[in-house]
Amino acid sequence: MMPIWTKSGKKHAVTLLKVQDCHVLRYISKEESGGKTSKLLVGGKNVSPFSKSESAMEIFKEAGVPRKQKVTVFNVTDDAIIKPGTPLYAAHFRPGQFVDVTAKTIGKGFQGVMKRWGFKGQPASHGQTKTHRRPGAISTNKAAKVYRGKKMPGKMGNIYRTSFGLKVWRINTKHDIIYVNGSVPGHTNCLVKVKDSKLPTYKDCNKNPPFPTFFADGDEKLPEDLYDDEIFQFTDPPVTYA
């Protein structure tokens, strides 16, 4: 995470996400998948092909791509289908876009009710016998049962969570890095899924995105760094209020 300053002098914290060897693996049509839209399987980081069985490696062999650590599913409209085997780059996103980021949260293990659900617990003194971090009452007398989904101690973390509506401030095309506003679930160097935002306020945010994706061997030659309009770039003179 890094600080970033706008032209008006405000500071924002930014998370760096690296796009590491992403390839499209397979196209599943609407009828095959049984959903409302067709799906594209996309694979992430490259790992060694020797520790998995042959059947699992079939998908990668078809696409002609080394084995990936993570395979995710993206729902795509019919006009955005990409041929399996094409690499995906950070330039697929543009600065000024809004993005949802999904990842597995940091696993905290078996945790008590105060850390997991934020219960207040009991006072430290004034006669409390062996009760300082316990949940207290779990239901009423009339209910005569404990409701399903009651907040109780258990395994915390290590589940998929999404942060919605994060602005993309800057894109580095040379190293494939996306600078995304705010924090992102997951530990450092964990695998993360980045999608266009589904929030209704940001529905019309993408002005001219590369559609269906950014092709490196195409005609467009992008500069090494793409900045949002409001970012203070370090080549500019210092900010003054006239």
Binding site: M2, G9, L16, P238, T240
Partner: protein, 246 residues
Amino acid sequence: RINSDGKPAKFQPPPKPVIIDKQKQREERRFLSPEFIPPRGRTDPLKFYIERKDMIQRRKVFNIPEFYVGSVLAVTTANPYANEKASRFVGICIQRGGKGLGATFVLRNVIEDQGVEICYELYNPRIQAIEVLKLEKRLDDNLMYLRDALPEYSTFDMNMKPVSRLDHEEIPVNKLQVRMKPKPWSKRWERPKYNIKGIKFELPEKKMKEAQKWSQPWLEFDMLREYDTSKIEEKIWKEVSEELKK
């Protein structure tokens, strides 16, 4: 020339002149700002490389001088609510924290009997100028104890003139022992955890001995806490100096 013997004298070449190369002496002293050194952790070195590129970009446009904890600085920042849209603050640097672009330094001064500490970010674009009025080191890396010292040690004149010094001289270490206000202090500075050498403790012997109860003499031998930065520093120094020369 003929000697007294009558034979011709052997040719004695003139003594070689001793050349003192002052530039070499100057280059021997390398200063790498502490925010360039990456902290110990599991982050990808690529992140530090990209952050360093940004930091070097900023340093090319705006000069961030060399300074240490204990030197007196004057900082002018852009302020929309000030009269001339720029506010100037003079103070002694008591702490340098943070790594990378978020590096900060805290300046302390006593203005009209009120102690004021301002924490500035080195790479904040609103900073117009940083001038070093007095470049010196102190006996400690962290001068937070000045809050409990007598106010005369933290007062600096707002219109102080910069103290001139020659380029190749070594940075002077001010071995000042500061006198403190009576206890209670904000932190127990006499404890060995803070390892302060710059205070003249006027506490009774009994209190000083009691403070040594909290000493942890095994800490300096703990190998897992060692973080040898010499090789990393050399690499980064080379990279940074090459980039800045361009």
